[in-house]
């Protein structure tokens, strides 16, 4: 048995037994008491800065922050009394006093924790109007917009950036009334070590961080008769978009999503999953080449643009290990402007490619010089996050939940179940292993499910997965990391020679793309980074994969056709030109 001491206390008169070290807030939750909170997040370190979670403890002269006080024997806690409710309400009112009055036009309206607190605490007027902090809106970033006037200094962005992502790009600067959260020296996000993952957007209880809006650009393209406007959707969108329309998390929505996009007026709806299948075909060929003595090993996957930025800023020495494959999004964009344009007989400049992504870093990726046409125009013209496409669908008055199922368009709309898996941690690895197994043994593996690399790790995002995967008479040692803090720990072990892998999958965001910086805000009362929510989204992808006949990327007939009629050899010259890229060390260099 565990030798952790147990503590007896009462909360609101009810006796509770809790292990030593439990906080009052955690102990209260076991009784079904949800003490209001703002800066607290169970997966981040404690800040104790907002004071919203105060409770009364018998014998103590002052209210205590229940998130950061651990229980003691005989403790008597009162979470509710007229005085506590009044004090909490005063705290919330004071936070509001220093906050803009623009809920109606705020993107976070309805998903704002400060707004929710104000509502639930009966704050119906603003009594303490006074001087308010003033900061300029920082819109220069290609992915992330910073609105410091909406910041409540809870520090969740600072903590998620440091503790989950291992970047530490954000810090509170200055002091007192003038405190502001910015990158070093108050620099813009693009000048900083920011890798554009957008987890600060997710972690923020208000709207101090937002994605750069591309919806206006897409609306304009849709209204332009000169353009053929095509759209592609990333694997994880179908697993999360339903949440924006009241469907339970984990509802697969592929068909309804396609119908909704067609109704918005897109001329063709393509599947990024096909780009994922292409990635697998190219990447597994690359892996086999590296395994066959070409090195260097381990090979690192390259689909996640946040991870690629991280590699270039924090681990440039490992660049030769990264697969040279472009991301599925950019592969599909490249083919749309070449293969598809040729098939259609239209000039590529008349094709407008909008990509729906779970990711704000894709907005950065599309602007990289490496992913542009010879004339300098980007291969991808706009990147919409899941949240942005939800606004657009709502704005159009589409009853999403009751839509009929639609089908993706040819020739870039057929995808395998392996492609769907790209949306979750372990998915790129599983898809690679399926195809690599076929290539190495000459036949499909008996079970296509590689359970060793599946699953969202919970808790404080500690750890990564590693597994020995038997393929024929050989064993591949593989690693899977999501959340860059995990990736950092894994890569340090590789660099120090303590671990040896053949291939490592890295996705920047917790849980992979399903937990991306552009995914729907969790419903009111639920928390971001919640492993349960991410598991539900992942289960939708596993369901979609299991329900498909085509589950091996290299068997995708559309992919085969692309190679036979357009690209030529796998890994050949044309494939290299269109489907591969290069990386370089970038400044400012991150401190690991």
């Amino acid at each position: 048995m565990s030798d952790v001491k147990t503590i007896n206390l009462t909360i609101d008169g009810t006796p509770v037994v809790a292990p030593e070290g439990t906080t009052i807030l955690q102990a209260a939750e076991t009784l079904g008491i949800h003490i209001p909170r703002l800066c607290y997040h169970p997966d981040l370190s404690l800040a104790g800065s907002c004071r919203v979670c105060i409770v009364e403890v018998k014998g103590m002269a002052q209210y205590m922050a229940s998130c950061s006080v651990t229980v003691w024997e005989g403790m008597e806690v009162q979470t509710n009394s007229p005085e506590i409710r009044q004090a909490r309400r005063d705290i919330i009112e004071l936070l509001l006093d220093n906050h803009p009055r623009d809920c109606q036009t705020c993107e976070r309206d309805g998903h704002c924790e400060l707004q929710n607190l104000a509502y639930s605490h009966g704050v119906r007027e603003r009594l303490f109007e006074g001087e308010r902090k003033r900061f300029a809106l920082e819109t220069s970033g290609v992915s992330v917009v910073r609105d410091s006037e909406k910041c409540v200094l809870c520090g969740r962005c600072v903590r998620v950036c440091a503790e989950v992502q291992g970047i530490t790009n954000l810090s509170q600067h200055g002091r007192g009334f003038h405190t502001v959260v910015t990158p070093a020296h108050g620099a813009t996000m693009d000048e900083s070590v920011c890798i554009q993952c957008g987890q600060c957007i997710n972690a923020c209880p208000t709207a101090a961080f937002l994605e750069k809006d591309h919806t206006d650009d897409v609306w304009a393209a849709l209204a332009n008769p000169e353009l053929r406007v095509v759209v592609q959707t990333a694997p994880s969108i179908r697993a999360a978009i339903g949440e924006g329309f009241g469907l339970p998390p984990g509802t697969p929505c592929t068909g309804r999503m396609v119908t909704a996009l067609r109704r918005l007026g897109f001329d063709a709806v393509f599947d990024t999953d096909l780009g994922a299948d292409l990635t697998i075909v190219e990447e597994s060929a690359e892996l086999l080449r590296r395994l066959d003595g070409g090195g260097p090993l381990p090979m690192l996957t390259s689909c996640s643009p946040g991870w690629i930025s991280f590699l270039e800023k924090f681990y440039p020495a490992l660049i030769p290990h990264a697969s040279t494959c472009r991301s599925p999004m950019t592969m599909l964009s490249a083919l749309s402007k070449t293969y598809y344009a040729q098939k259609l007989g239209v000039d590529p400049s008349r094709i407008y490619m909008a990509a729906v992504m779970p990711c704000v870093a894709k907005k950065f990726e599309m602007r990289r010089p490496e992913h542009r046409e010879a004339d300098g125009s980007p291969m991808t013209d706009a990147v919409l996050t899941t949240r942005e496409i939800i606004w657009m669908i709502r704005c159009y008055g589409i009853d999403f939940a009751n839509l009929p199922e639609g089908e993706f368009d040819a020739p870039l709309g057929v995808a395998t179940g392996a492609g769907d898996l790209f949306g979750t941690t372990g998915g790129v690895m599983e898809a690679t292993l399926r195809t690599a197994a076929c290539k190495l043994t000459g036949r499909a593996p008996e079970t296509l499910e590689f359970e060793q690399v599946r699953g969202v790790l919970g808790g404080r995002w500690a750890g990564w997965r590693e597994a020995d995967v038997r393929i024929g008479d050989r064993t591949l040692h593989v690693g899977v990391a999501n959340g860059l803090h995990n990736a950092k720990n894994l890569l340090d072990q590789v660099i120090e020679g303590r671990k040896k892998f053949h291939v490592i999958e890295v996705m920047a965001c917790p849980g992979g793309c399903i937990g991306g910086g552009g995914q729907p805000y969790p419903p009111t009362g639920e928390r971001i980074l919640d492993p349960e929510l991410l598991r539900l989204r992942a289960s939708a992808l596993y369901k979609i994969d299991a329900g498909k006949t085509l589950r091996l990327s290299h068997e995708n007939p559309a992919v085969r056709e692309v190679y036979e009629t357009f690209l030529g050899e796998i890994g050949g010259a044309k494939a290299h030109e269109l489907l591969h890229t290069s990386y370089a060390a970038r400044l400012p260099r991150g401190v690991r």
Partner: protein, 195 residues
């Protein structure tokens, strides 16, 4: 198809150094700081919890340059291996650290009780008006910085204003322009030595 054995893999694990920029980043950081401070940071790195020495490193950097520039802080971040956001967060939190160079003459107005009742507030108003700057700021020609202190311990001379180490007793607002002109003349006669 053959797989590499662990030893071979180990060799393959060693990346070519060409993609790494650490040597350049480190050289740039070392060039931004004087050698003794670079040495001090290296010494901190050999101790436990090197990051806990951040404030003493920043003190030394400010002691040398008179202020902390973004370049200095970035150099400290790289050499001490503390994220730059933390370095600038610390530097902006403490009033002692200055982020801009100070003027050639630092004007320190005593705002202690005795000086205050003897009209230091009027001196401040006049200084701000003449210089066009607030406390903590420096004139655009880099000549004067304006600062305040609470009691210089010479209450008998109130109100007191210091220009660098020179103490000026019983200053009246009328004398402010005269004093400023004196220092401008002095600066013109003795241009600052080249750094």
């Amino acid at each position: 198809m053959k797989f590499q054995d662990p030893q071979e893999r180990n060799d393959a694990m060693k990346p070519p150094t060409t993609t790494d920029n650490w040597n350049e980043v480190k050289a740039a950081a070392e060039a931004a700081l004087p050698a003794p401070i670079v040495e001090f940071i290296a010494d901190c790195r050999r101790r436990e919890h090197p990051e806990s020495h951040l404030i003493s490193v920043l003190h030394k950097v400010q002691g040398h340059f008179g202020y902390l520039s973004a370049e200095h802080m970035d150099a400290v971040a790289q050499l001490l291996q503390v994220p730059a956001a933390k370095v600038s967060g610390v530097a902006t939190f403490y009033h002692f650290f200055r982020l801009r160079p100070r003027g050639r003459y630092v004007i320190n107005v005593c705002l202690g009780t005795a000086c205050y009742v003897k009209g230091a507030d009027k001196l401040v108003a006049k200084l701000k008006d003449e210089l066009g700057i607030d406390f903590g700021e420096t004139t655009s020609d880099g000549m004067f910085s304006l600062e305040a202190s609470r009691c210089l311990g010479t209450c008998g001379l109130a109100p007191v204003v210091m220009f660098n180490d020179d103490v000026h007793p019983r200053v009246t607002p009328d004398q402010v322009p005269v004093l400023l002109q004196q220092y401008l003349d002095r600066a013109r006669k003795a241009p600052p030595a080249a750094p």
